[in-house]
Symmetry: C2
Subunit: 75 residues, 2 copies
């Protein structure tokens, strides 16, 4: 089984904001951002900062409540 | 001026552990890890998790006390 590396993004969208609107407003490809939310992209550090900026949060917030990598490997 | 995206790693090495030893023990290229410490690499999410694992910390710890991306852009 492949290891999924994922950051947490969707919880930072306001309740009335769709993934599609968020992506459009921030010049992100909707399919790219959808992949990010599903852990399908091996994001680069620059894109992590870009997405955190668009969400208005510190990049570290995207790693909140994420399992550490040992726990991920044990899945 | 280019924007530097950087994670904080060196502070997690124990005081008696050199960058070279840490890289060697964790199958990382020393030059690669040196570049990481200097913010010269646009790390991927998978490598962020790999390095955090090698350092024994949660990936979010690598973003502690980092400026948010707005602040980075203002440099």
């Amino acid at each position: 089984m492949s290891i999924v590396y994922q950051v947490k993004t969707s919880c930072f969208l306001s309740t009335h904001q769709s993934q599609e609107n968020f992506a459009h407003e921030n010049n992100l490809q909707r399919t790219f951002y959808g992949d990010v939310e599903r852990g399908k992209r091996n994001l680069t550090l620059a894109n992590i900062f870009k997405i955190a900026d668009a969400l208005g949060v510190n990049p570290k917030a995207l790693f909140d409540e994420m399992p550490n990598s040992n726990e991920v490997k044990d899945l």
